[in-house]
């Protein structure tokens, strides 16, 4: 199915790419640290959506063996599902560490704005004459 010159047969992959793009723009443009964390997790979700869409086959069931049918024509590809399972958990771990860093940065500089934090740390570095924290 073609609309405006774009082929929409791979609509799941297209949606994943658009989600990735939105996450990337938000990560680069927005100044708030919490929004950056959310955008990072959103980008990860987009990649998992793309990967899992690679394993789907029309008309076949989930990869859990039922009634003893072990032919490969009855189930979808299980490998991308295994990869994404690992990825989801790693994404949560990264998010947790980033949020802990955000909390520490807020306690130190009392701001969630990354421009302010960089400016404050540079000012501190100029004042002290030694290397700052950021």
């Amino acid at each position: 199915m073609t609309l405006f010159g774009i082929d929409f047969t791979n609509y799941v992959e297209l949606a994943a790419m658009i989600l990735f793009g939105i996450g990337l723009v938000l990560l680069l443009v927005d100044k708030n640290l919490i929004k950056k964390n959310i955008a990072f997790a959103m980008t990860d979700s987009a990649i998992y959506l793309f990967l899992a869409a690679k394993g789907y086959i029309f008309g076949r069931r989930a990869p859990i063996i039922e009634n003893g049918i072990t032919s490969a024509e009855a189930y979808i590809n299980p490998i991308p599902a295994g990869l994404v399972l690992t990825g989801i958990v790693v994404s949560v771990a990264c998010s947790a560490v980033m949020l802990a860093l955000t909390v520490r940065l807020y306690r130190r500089y009392h701001s969630l704005d990354i421009d302010e934090i960089i400016a404050l740390s540079q000012k501190e570095r100029d004042q002290d004459g030694t290397g700052g924290n950021v």
Binding site: I6, D7, T9, N10, Y11, V12, E13, L14, M17, I18, F20, G21, L24, V25, L28, V29, A53, K54, G55, Y56, I57, F58, R60, P63, I64, I65, T70, S71, A72, E73, Y75, N77, P78, I79, A81, G82, L85, T86, I88, V89, A93, C94, A96, V97, L99, A100, L101, V103, R104, R107, R108, Y109, H110, S111, D115, E116, A119, Q122, K123, E124
Partner: protein
């Protein structure tokens, strides 16, 4: 061309004018503290001492430069999305059986999965038997994340006993949640056993139905978080201390590593193990998979609970 450079020049140097305006605007602000912040150790996070940082901080990035960077980054992302969307049209079609991703590896996993691993759930058999090393790495990532968050957020014991910190904890709780809430306690008394039981069911049946260590561990962790919220820190501290956390995670990860470490010494090919797969469909079949699921589930449960309580309280 010179008009373009002139506009660019004006945009990039708009920050001087802006700095002067901002300084004039904030001269009326009460000049309380000096611009540098007090050091971290002396001052817990009391909201009464907000230093006036805005008095004389020179912004290195002016507004004009920031706008240029925003435009450039949006253009970059639009460029990336365009390239990706064009590539999406050349990808193999979604959901066709003849895709290059469906090759002989998936055929082998599906056809011989049940007899070689004994697991009815092919994905669980794959991540805990054929590709068990990846799952070990993932559990280690969770453990490392908790260690990192502990380094960042843990509050030492004598600081926790200080009056300012206790006052802050009290006021935080009273502001956002009622303490010893009757509804929460009664419902939690009914729900927590069901949640923990559901988590254990999901973990144990990981190789027979959808689920496995990660989701089951997450459900159990959520049950523990509910218990913490309903009954308070003191009661949870009675049985979930840092020593228990350390013991459980280290034992679980070591068990996982040791039980699959033989292949380092016997070669990478899957040797027939002494633990037979058993009959598919029973709970204690599938060789080592239920035990590995249990250890992964314990690691995930402890991790999730520890992350929550490190954020809330500052200690385990």
């Amino acid at each position: 061309m010179s008009r373009l450079t002139e506009r660019l020049h004006r945009m990039l140097h708009a920050d001087d004018r802006l700095d002067r305006e901002m300084a004039a605007e904030w001269e009326e602000a009460p000049a309380g503290k000096p611009a540098s912040l007090p050091p971290e150790e002396v001052n817990p996070d009391t909201p009464a001492e907000q230093p006036d940082w805005w008095i004389s901080v020179p912004f290195r990035q002016g507004r004009g430069l920031r706008r240029l960077l925003v435009v450039l980054s949006v253009l970059l992302c639009v460029g990336i999305i365009t390239v990706l969307v064009i590539t999406a049209q050349y990808l193999p079609h979604f959901g066709q059986a003849g895709n290059p991703a469906n090759n002989e590896v998936s055929r082998r996993y599906i056809e011989n999965g049940m007899e070689e691993t004994g697991a009815v759930n092919i994905v669980a058999g794959m991540i805990l038997d054929y590709r068990a090393f990846d799952t070990l790495g993932e559990s280690n990532v969770l453990f490392t994340a908790v260690c990192a968050v502990m380094l960042l957020l843990r509050v030492s014991a004598d600081k926790r006993r200080s009056a300012a910190y206790q006052l802050e904890l009290e006021t935080d709780d009273r502001m956002y949640e009622p303490k010893n809430d009757l509804i929460l306690r009664s419902i939690a008394r009914l729900l927590i056993p069901c949640i923990l039981l559901l988590g254990m069911y999901i973990i144990l049946n990981g190789h027979l139905s959808p689920g496995g260590g990660f989701s089951g561990g997450a459900v159990m962790g959520a049950g523990l978080i509910l218990m913490l919220n309903a009954y308070g820190f003191r009661r949870m501290e009675r049985f979930f201390t840092i020593r228990l956390f350390r013991a459980v995670t280290v034992c679980a990860l070591s068990f996982y590593a040791l039980s699959k470490a033989y292949s380092f010494f016997t070669g990478a090919n899957h040797l027939p193990s002494v633990i037979t797969p058993g009959t598919p469909g029973m709970i204690f079949s599938a060789g080592l998979i239920p035990y590995l699921n249990i250890s992964v589930g314990l690691v995930v449960c402890c991790t999730i609970y520890s992350l929550y309580t490190l954020f809330r309280k500052g200690d385990l």
